[in-house]
């Protein structure tokens, strides 16, 4: 039975696409129409506003959760910060565990799944709609999100599965089922099931289609417009070679180049900011003023706030549960240590990298302002920009104000980030898939093939439906994950109390001084 469902799912995209292609003309258009129609109701539900307001309930859900965790764990992002740096440096790592996954490696792997297009394209979308003020709310969401990440990653390590052959599997599906059972609560398995379904959708959406879509936009921006499905097929073949063919050399090159690209991106942003030192004060002024007045953006303060929170959540994935899968492979006897390390993720991803992008866009002057009113000039719901650019193109144009050659570097970075995010999310999706359908070579290959087919769909569809579905699928993961975290947070608090006590008493030893 399981196999027939799997086979049916695997064939679905192949059968659906040609049928639409015959009626609708171009393949891209057919894919786009079919995709928008199929995902519309799901997207509408996730982004439904709170009755009587224009505020999406899902954004409120994430903000409240992050605030609750921040208070419940006594501002762990501040009091645990110093110790988390010591853990990443390896000060508390037993030399006998050398060769196992270190705290640094678990953090770097998780970051390679989150640092990417969200930081480049996502921020541009937020600033392009919500104005510079969105940055303030994005930073706040990043700081609060550190506590969500801490909670989920601690549980990810505590309830991971360690198999006889030494391999590990962890993530929300495991802590939801095992943690609820341990606390004698019903419904853990249902939540784990729902999380796995949404995680698969999230992997295919934000972790795949959005990436393929934006990578195609970048390539088309350089070489000229051409059908998206061509980029999709090229990407799909390369990803297939890595995740199915096991061609490690491609992944190895990406692992080395992606961190370098990340550092190059931040350094270039810093250089541009230093070159425009005189404007930094003004840019921060715009960020604060925009946060509390809106500076004329669509929806005013609420518009800026929604964009900031939405893009932060999409970028750092705090509360989504994906990081718990990535962090669960670390070698440690103390789950709390990985929770503490993971709280650095939203800090690096959102508070540092996203803010850099937002500042560069703000000081670039590409967002058109009416000098008479000091408010932004709107074009529909988005801010009018010089050259009519948005998304990755806005970031690219902003960086080009500092260095004309940077768009070429950015294009390569976007493609590599997209690729590394796809590889990371193929793993997250696979873990959810094997949780539902069981471990096994055939089951795994079926998911991996579906994943590659969605790369083609993502590259061919237009940005609107893809970004909506990507956001909706990832936020749906957060609905289930956070519900579970509320019930399981007492376990984390108990672990934290015990760990801090032993750290204070010297029972937990420091190996490096």
């Amino acid at each position: 039975m399981k196999k027939s469902i799997l086979n049916g799912l695997a064939l679905l995209p192949f059968t659906a696409v040609p049928a639409f292609a015959q009626e609708g003309g171009s393949i891209d258009q057919a894919v786009n129409e079919a995709f928008a129609a199929a995902t519309g109701p799901f997207v509408n539900f996730i982004f439904a506003p709170i009755p009587g307001t224009s505020f999406p309930w899902i954004v409120m859900w994430l903000v409240i959760a992050a605030s609750v965790f921040t208070l419940y764990f006594g501002f762990i992002q501040i009091r645990g910060f110093r110790h988390s740096i010591q853990l990443v440096k390896g000060d508390y790592s037993d030399p006998e565990d050398a060769g196992e996954v270190s705290h640094f490696q678990a953090l770097a792997t998780a970051l390679s799944g989150t640092v990417g297009l969200g930081n480049i394209a996502g921020v541009a979308v937020a600033v392009g709609i919500g104005g510079p003020g969105a940055t303030f709310w994005m930073i706040l969401a990043g700081l609060l999100g550190m506590a969500s990440k801490f909670t989920e990653c601690t549980l990810g390590v505590k309830y991971r599965n360690e198999y006889a052959d030494g391999s590990v599997s962890g993530g929300p599906m495991y802590y939801l089922s095992k943690g609820f059972r341990e606390r004698g609560l019903p419904g853990g398995k249902v939540l784990a099931f729902l999380f796995s379904v949404f995680c698969i959708l999230g992997a295919l959406g934000g972790g795949n289609m959005f990436q393929a879509n934006q990578a195609h936009a970048q390539i088309a921006g350089i070489v000229g417009d051409f059908p998206g499905w061509i980029t999709g097929i090229i990407f799909a073949v390369i990803v297939f070679a890595v995740i199915v063919g096991g061609i490690k050399s491609i992944a190895n090159v990406t692992e080395k180049v992606v961190p370098f690209m990340g550092i190059l991106y931040v350094v270039t942003a810093l250089v541009i900011l230093i070159m425009n030192f005189d404007k930094i004060g003004w840019a921060f002024g715009q960020i604060f003023e925009g946060a509390f007045t809106g500076l004329g953006v669509a929806g005013g303060i609420v518009g800026a706030l929604i964009q900031g929170f939405k893009r932060a959540a999409f970028s750092n994935e705090a509360g989504v549960g994906s990081a718990a899968i990535a962090h669960s492979a670390v070698k440690t006897k103390e789950p709390i240590t990985e929770g503490l390390v993971s709280l650095l993720e939203p800090l690096i991803d959102t508070v540092v990298i996203c803010t850099m992008t937002a500042l560069v866009i703000t000081i670039s002057g590409l967002l058109i302002m009416d000098p008479a009113t000091g408010n932004f000039v709107l074009d529909g719901s988005t801010i009018k920009t010089v050259g009519d650019v948005s998304g990755v193109s806005l970031t690219s144009a902003a960086f080009a104000q500092g260095f004309s050659w940077f768009p070429y570097i950015l294009a390569i970075a976007v493609i590599l980030f997209a690729f590394s995010t796809m590889i990371s999310w193929s793993y997250y999706g696979l873990k959810a898939w094997t949780y539902l359908f069981g471990e096994g070579k055939t089951t795994e290959v079926i998911f991996k093939v579906i994943f590659c087919v969605f790369i083609v769909i993502g590259a061919a569809a237009s940005l609107g439906p893809v970004i909506d579905f990507s956001d909706a699928a990832i936020f749906a993961m957060a609905v289930v994950n956070i519900t579970g975290l509320y019930f399981l947070m007492p376990i984390v608090r108990k672990e934290l109390g015990s760990y801090m006590e032993r750290l204070k008493s010297g029972e937990i030893r420091r190996f490096k001084h």
């Binding site: 390896g90 790592s93 030399p95 050398a98 060769g99 196992e100 996954v101 270190s102 640094f104 490696q105 678990a106 770097a108 792997t109 390679s112 799944g113 052959d165 030494g166 391999s167 590990v168 599997s169 992944a251 692992e255 080395k256 992606v258 961190p259 899968i325 990535a326 492979a329 670390v330 070698k331 590889i423 990371s424 793993y427 997250y428």
Partner: protein, 145 residues
């Protein structure tokens, strides 16, 4: 008190030269234990995919088993057969740092390694492990040519 000599092995012919010299020293000293160390080059700050992380423990065990089977156990068995007191170990990390820290923690009076003859670009730029060991070791080092 038994003297201890730490020998750095890497599975190559250079390691055999180091063992041959250490045996000479041990014969001259008399009461001497030979400790063979094989270091699997590894950094806690390298980048890996999520899938590699999930499989890491399994791979580490496989790497240690392979190093023991192919390098350490044959060397130790040969030394014991010749009447030397010997034992071996396999560790992950930086070669020069681990040779030094192991020599210190084991109380070895000397480290014996052999020049590997690596003439690659990386070794020209960053220096070889033996050169790094010679510069940083807290214990006397003999580099066999």
């Amino acid at each position: 008190m038994t003297a201890k000599i730490l020998i750095g092995l890497d599975g190559s012919e250079a390691g055999d030269r180091a063992v041959a010299f250490a045996k000479q020293l041990a014969s001259l000293i008399g009461d001497c234990e030979l400790i063979a160390l094989f270091v699997i080059e590894w950094s806690p700050y390298s980048f890996q995919t999520a899938e590699e992380n999930a499989e890491r423990h399994k791979r580490r065990e496989a790497e240690i088993a392979a190093a023991k089977d192919r390098v350490i156990n044959p060397a130790i068995n040969a030394l014991k057969a010749e009447g030397f007191a010997a034992r071996g170990m396999v560790k992950h990390g930086h070669v020069a740092d681990l040779l030094n820290s192991t020599a210190v923690s084991e109380g070895a009076s000397q480290i014996v390694v052999a020049r590997s003859g690596d003439r690659g670009l990386a070794s020209r730029v960053f220096g070889t492990s033996t050169a790094h060991l010679a510069m940083t070791s807290e214990v006397p080092v003999t580099i066999v040519g």
